[in-house]
């Protein structure tokens, strides 16, 4: 054989070798780049991708609700050869056509953190059970109040958001309000709930919401907050009114700043969720699909834990030391 033949053979062999070792490409699309929840998710995904020898592409919308940005990210990742796309949908309905296009091309699509509408539009869902998160803190509030009459204020997200509805209704169901379940549409009301106001998940607006609720009913003794920034805002309002000692605040999220608030007594208990786990399990599923063609399916509950330093009998919980070791954000 001539040198030219040898060279050609070597080239073909090495290319074949490279192709066999080509890493599977998995895409992660979050709602935004900056929310610490999604930052943690990205971290989990990157760690898992490294472990699995996969290439991770990331993208996001510009803001919560930016559907068009997520569609663009899906299209770009498909062009880049992604075999699986993991997405936290900003708009659970509007993203469905783009997801269908991806799945028609043989891409596995997994929803993270919240489902699409319909949930079957994706191959699988890896998420916190937001209803259960609310349930845990509702049960805790009931136990903590120990039979005293409840005057509840709910500091919610904003109208119509499924996560806001799930957590709110879960809280009421956990508290023991009859007739409220996971399938209840819209924010449930009850005799114990004396005020419902919106925070948009924001500390400043949470403070305003709590101030107005206190004006309406100064005897509020339980506050459910959609997340920890809203809870911090509610605490500020209570403190300004001199009521912070007698009112129980519960929330959802389990971010590190929030767990610190539980430790310092600002928040009585918080339901911690695990974005890192969501992402790493989903990346593993994506790599499995790329290598073997086996798709993930159904709903994988990534878990939620009640974090509190004031344990109540009958309600499972872990303390803030655990909470700080497992938290997301800084």
């Amino acid at each position: 054989m001539t040198a030219k033949h040898c060279f050609a053979l070597a080239l073909i062999a090495s290319t074949a070798g490279l192709a066999a070792a080509a890493e599977p490409v998995v895409g992660l699309i979050t709602k935004t780049e900056t929310n610490p929840f999604f930052v943690k998710m990205k971290e989990g995904a990157q760690q898992a991708a490294k472990l699995q020898g996969a290439k991770l592409l990331t993208g996001a919308g510009k803001s919560d609700g930016d559907n068009a940005g997520q569609i663009t990210a899906i299209e770009n990742m498909m062009s880049a050869g992604a075999r699986a796309i993991l997405i936290t949908p900003s708009d659970s309905k509007a993203i469905v056509p783009a997801i269908k296009r991806a799945r028609d091309q043989g891409v596995m699509v997994v929803a993270l953190d919240s489902p699409t509408d319909p949930a079957t539009a994706t191959d699988a869902l890896f998420a916190t059970d937001n209803f259960k998160a609310g349930l845990l803190i509702g049960q805790y509030a009931k136990a903590a109040l120990a039979g005293k009459p409840a005057k509840i204020a709910t500091i919610d997200l904003f109208p119509g958001h499924p996560v806001g509805i799930a957590r709110h209704n879960g809280f009421l169901a956990g508290y023991g309000v009859a007739g409220v379940g996971a399938k209840t549409a819209g924010l449930a009301r009850s005799a114990e709930v004396v005020c419902m106001a919106d925070s948009y998940g924001d500390q400043g607006k949470g403070q305003t919401a709590m101030e107005n609720c206190l004006q309406k009913n100064p005897d509020i003794n339980i506050v459910y907050a959609i997340n920890e920034p809203a809870a911090a805002g509610a605490y500020k309002a209570l403190k300004a009114a001199g009521k912070e000692k007698g009112v129980l605040i519960v929330s959802v999220d389990g971010g590190c700043a929030g767990v610190r608030d539980v430790k310092s007594g600002v928040i009585a208990a918080t339901a911690q969720q695990y974005p890192l786990k969501m992402a790493s399990l989903a990346v593993e599923a994506g790599v499995t699909y790329a290598k073997t063609g086996k798709k993930a399916s159904g709903y994988v509950d990534t878990g939620v834990t009640l974090i509190t330093d004031r344990k109540m009998t009958g309600v499972d919980s872990r303390d803030t030391a655990f909470g700080l070791s497992a938290c997301w954000g800084k």
């Binding site: 610490p36 109208p159 419902m196 400043g204 107005n212 004006q215 309406k216 700043a257 800084k330």
Partner: protein, 343 residues
């Protein structure tokens, strides 16, 4: 040229000198009343107050009104800057993000670098004025539309805030920094210093727009920039000044936001651009420039706060607050258009 000799004129008897125009301190009562554009919003506000007073006995109290003023404090001060810019036929979409950046800068400088709180606050305000300068420079020198310029700086300010703060709220602030959140009592009511500052700023701006030449130049530039230029007004300098002064107001709003919440919040201010524009529009100021009053903005700011507070006291779902705000904005703009056409 007249070749004829001038006819001799009978000497004119000296006439008593004409009374000089009324001195500034003695303006007539008519001039003190808010202009017609504000009457509509004022009526709407009074109607709302009366309505909510009938719906909830907790509404009509000094404490509740003090609360409403605190709640509208930050957007209220931002809206002053927005009013000045809209009067020049401009608009500022970046105001909320600039405020958030200012609040992050002033808190992080004090907490992270141990800077003296007053110096840190000065730095935060300087950053806001700097972005105001950028906005103004782009509008005046490259003649870009304010909408586009501030759309760009809005995104830039947001990104810088997120990157610099790592999306984390800044806590552990020095006592002095939250001074404007402290309260003093007047009878049964506790009032925050920040509220007093806001009212003072509105008064100052009112005086500036009514009584000073630069204030009147603002209206002239908004009405007809070319005509203003021809009368000798330095339109570029007026515009640049307006954007920078508005930046200063956003910096003050940042301080008030920090005082109210007790933290530096990088996620704050995201809806403040539309909220401040809503307040300005509700107050009867024209988006086309040259017409409007800062009193109107104050009324507009109060309308939003009163509705939010009143509807919550009534237990009405918050989605209706959003609906009501939208309807009010349409009514305000329509009323403004119709009355302008008649005038």
């Amino acid at each position: 040229m007249n070749a004829q000799p001038k006819p001799a004129l009978a000497p004119i008897a000296p006439v008593a000198p004409v009374a000089p125009p009324a001195r500034r301190g003695t303006t007539r009562l008519k001039d003190m009343l808010p202009p017609a554009t504000v009457l509509g919003p004022l009526v709407a506000l009074l109607a709302a107050v009366i309505f909510f007073a009938t719906q909830s006995e907790r509404f009509l109290s000094g404490q509740n009104f003090s609360l409403i003023l605190q709640q509208v404090m930050v957007v209220g001060v931002i809206a002053i800057g927005q009013t000045l810019i809209i009067l020049t036929a401009g608009i500022d979409l970046s105001c909320g993000m600039v405020m958030a950046l200012g609040s992050v800068v002033l808190t992080k400088f004090a907490v992270d670098y141990g800077m003296d709180p007053y110096a840190a606050v000065a730095c935060g305000m300087a950053v806001c004025v700097l972005i105001g300068y950028v906005n103004g420079a782009l509008v005046t020198s490259i003649k870009l539309p304010p909408f586009i310029v501030t759309l760009g700086t809005m995104n830039i300010a947001f990104a810088i805030t997120q990157i610099y703060s790592q999306a984390q709220t800044v806590t552990g602030l020095p006592e002095a920094m939250t001074f404007f959140g402290n309260t003093f009592r007047v009878g049964e009511t506790s009032i925050t210093y920040g509220t007093v500052l806001m009212l003072g700023l509105y008064l100052l701006t009112w005086l500036f727009l009514r009584e000073t030449a630069p204030g009147r130049h603002l209206y002239a530039v908004g009405n007809n920039p070319e005509a203003a230029r021809l009368t000798g007004i330095a339109t570029s300098r007026v515009l640049l000044g307006v954007y920078m002064v508005s930046g200063l107001f956003y910096g003050i709003a940042a301080l008030l936001s920090v005082a109210r919440m007790g933290v530096g919040d990088p996620q704050g201010g995201q809806t403040d651009n539309l909220d401040s524009i809503t307040a300005v529009v509700l107050g009867g100021t024209s988006l086309f420039g040259g017409r409007g009053s800062i009193v109107g903005t104050f009324v507009g700011v109060l309308i939003v706060g009163v509705f939010r507070n009143g509807l919550t006291l009534m237990g009405v779902p918050s989605v209706y607050q959003i609906l009501v705000t939208g309807i009010l904005v349409i009514l305000a703009v329509a009323t403004d258009q119709l009355t302008h056409k008649k005038g």
